[in-house]
């Protein structure tokens, strides 16, 4: 039992915590931008922030190119994806009243993956393009939309199946697990049965990776992130009341079924669009919200934004670790988050019992 003054939740520690987080964020961002196969001196980053990229010449120009065309979009995408996955997890854990809930459990990731894999399979072998009328469009750019649609379809299916029970948390979790298993089996079945030249790309995508993501991905994901940011202040108070259970929330004037449904839709959008960009990066939505709760308590007006920040940091840090692994290839970010996530998952389970 901790005395109230000792707990991290106490507001006395908040300035310190905010400072610590900022320092961590700065460190993670700098390392991600500067370290890698092409090591970039800090001076080049500093210079290219203030002057046009072309002004530099010689080796600095190459460094600036790597910085702006490869590392910066990858970093930003990592931040957006991490923030979205963590916020989706925070919302789902409240609505499903289950600390082990995240977008995998509701079938959102599974639906997103299934449509994404189908898209890969219809693409021309090797080059990964799909004919849309006259253009050859790279499927990678269509992936976010397909995945979002898939995630929403899966979530819609889960809602339909659980609606008979009035969207109770238990029914949602059970239907979600069932739908997710079917979807994951379909993904595996397609991969195994179809035998396709793009299978290798699909496998890399399914591991969850930020490799080779350029500015187009950032622009494609940005609308969903902005939507999430705009909805955040509207969702916080209803989520707070939902934490008190159906009867108390309804007695406090909340329309429970409507807000449960809306929260699930928002969480699905946030998670599925992120999955579409980088593949099913696991455990971010599971890992981050309990940490945020331990830091600032369960008031969602603080927990939700902090989850976003911590999720962004986690994904960027994991990507940094994955890239600096010794060896020829880098470790996909989804593998790193899973390696961190599984022990944490077991820890939560043990603490619960």
């Amino acid at each position: 039992m901790s005395s109230p003054g000792w707990s991290l939740q106490s507001s006395r520690y908040r300035p310190m915590m905010a400072l610590g987080l900022m320092l961590l964020a700065m460190a993670a961002i700098l390392i991600n931008l500067l370290a890698g196969p092409v090591s970039i001196p800090f001076a080049v980053l500093w210079q290219s922030l203030w002057s046009s990229v072309n002004a530099a010449a010689g080796p600095d120009a190459v460094a600036a190119e790597v910085l702006w065309q490869l590392r910066m979009p990858r970093l930003l995408l990592g931040l957006l994806v991490g923030g979205q996955l963590a916020m989706a997890g925070a919302i789902l854990q409240v609505v499903l009243r289950n600390p082990l809930a995240d977008s995998h459990i509701l079938g959102i990731s599974g639906g997103a993956s299934l449509l994404a894999v189908l898209l890969f399979l219809f693409a021309t072998d090797g080059v990964l393009t799909l004919a849309v009328w006259d253009w050859q469009v790279s499927v990678l750019y269509m992936m976010p939309w397909a995945a979002t649609a898939g995630g929403l379809l899966a979530a819609g299916l889960v809602f339909r199946l659980s609606a008979a029970g009035g969207l109770t948390p238990m029914r949602l979790v059970l239907c979600g697990i069932a739908v997710a298993s079917v979807l994951n089996a379909l993904v595996g079945g397609i991969l195994a049965g179809w035998g396709h030249a793009n299978a290798e790309t699909v496998l890399a995508w399914l591991a969850g990776t930020l490799y080779g993501r350029d500015w187009l991905y950032v622009w494609a994901l940005l609308p969903w992130s902005v939507l999430g940011l705009l909805l955040l202040p509207v969702m916080a108070k209803p989520l707070n009341l939902l934490q008190l259970g159906e009867e108390s929330a309804s007695s406090l004037g909340l329309s429970v079924t409507r807000w449960r449904g809306l929260s699930l839709v928002v969480a699905s959008l946030l998670a599925a669009s992120a999955v579409g960009m980088v593949g099913p990066v696991g455990f971010v939505g599971l890992l981050v919200p309990p940490i945020a709760q331990a830091l600032v308590g369960s008031d969602m007006r603080r927990q939700l934004p902090l989850s976003g920040v911590l999720g962004a940091l986690l994904v960027v840090a994991a990507d940094g670790v994955g890239r600096s692994m010794p060896g020829v290839n880098e470790l996909p970010v989804g593998v790193v988050t899973s390696l961190v996530g599984v022990p944490f998952f077991i820890y939560v389970l043990r603490r619960q019992s």
Partner: protein, 268 residues
């Protein structure tokens, strides 16, 4: 404002839980719902609070059916304390009681000075003035129940519905909750409606008793005229005696034996 149920029926799946039930609650009084397990007390409270829609009939508050009240406006008139309230881990007592102010706040739930004052009052009224920054999980069962009552008080609804507020408390804490509710009723004119298992406590603290059996009301009135030996035998299946204290006029029941158990044994 007057709260009444008009011929409401409620189903759970295929079984009918409330059957064509009508009830008008006396304003400013303490009403206790009594009845054996499964008689529909909790369901009636939920229907009265509007968290459960009857399949037919309606619950009317003031001049409108509950369904026609906007959620927040209704929450300013009616507060329900469920039988098993839940709170997220790590929540502080003050934070929880502040949630009671949400029907009076905007979408973000920003606190006004008035909110702070009302929360402080609700905490003081329930004897929790020093508990605001404690964690809910660190409190005893009795203290926690008072926190939930404080939440309902902060809501400042003139009608308070409580589903078995004393069931999981020891005797001392049970009486504490009952006396708190009596004070609130006397000092603030709160209309209190609660379900109870303890017939003696109901007889002692309630102005009105409502006795239910299988989704219907079988008796309704002042304790002295409602609580009879015949009723104890018929509804609760116990043989007992109802006595009135000559000085305080308080009723009390003495129970002798279960009629069901003997009945079952006699048959085989």
């Amino acid at each position: 404002m007057r709260l009444s149920a008009q011929q409401i029926c409620v189903d759970y799946g295929k079984s009918r839980v409330l059957d064509d039930l009508s009830l008008t609650l006396s304003e400013g009084a303490i009403t206790c719902l009594l009845g054996p397990n499964g008689s529909g007390k909790s369901t009636l409270l939920k229907a009265l609070a509007g968290s459960l829609q009857p399949v037919s009939g309606q619950v009317v508050l003031g001049d409108r059916a509950l369904a026609q009240w906007p959620g927040k406006a209704l929450a300013r008139q009616l507060a329900l304390l469920p039988q098993h309230p839940v709170a997220p881990e790590g929540l502080l007592v003050g934070e929880l009681v502040h949630y009671g102010r949400s029907p009076h706040q905007g979408f973000w739930g920003a606190r006004s000075r008035e909110d702070d004052e009302i929360v402080a009052w609700a905490l003081a009224a329930t004897g929790l003035a020093a508990y605001g920054s404690r964690r809910l999980s660190q409190l005893s069962g009795g203290e926690r129940q008072r926190v939930w009552i404080a939440l309902a008080l902060a809501q400042q609804a003139p009608i308070l519905l409580l589903d078995e507020p004393t069931t999981f408390l020891d005797l001392g804490h049970q009486l504490e909750v009952m006396e708190l509710l009596t004070d609130l009723n006397r000092e603030h004119g709160l209309t209190v409606v609660m379900s109870l298992h303890d017939i003696n406590q109901a007889a002692r603290y309630a102005h009105q008793l409502v006795v239910m059996e299988r989704g219907r009301i079988v008796a309704h009135g002042e304790p002295a005229s409602t609580l009879t030996e015949d009723l104890l035998a018929r509804v609760f299946r116990v043989r007992g005696q109802v006595e009135s204290d000559p000085l305080s006029r308080h009723l009390s029941c003495r129970f002798h034996s279960s009629l069901n158990y003997r009945f079952a044994n006699d048959n085989g």
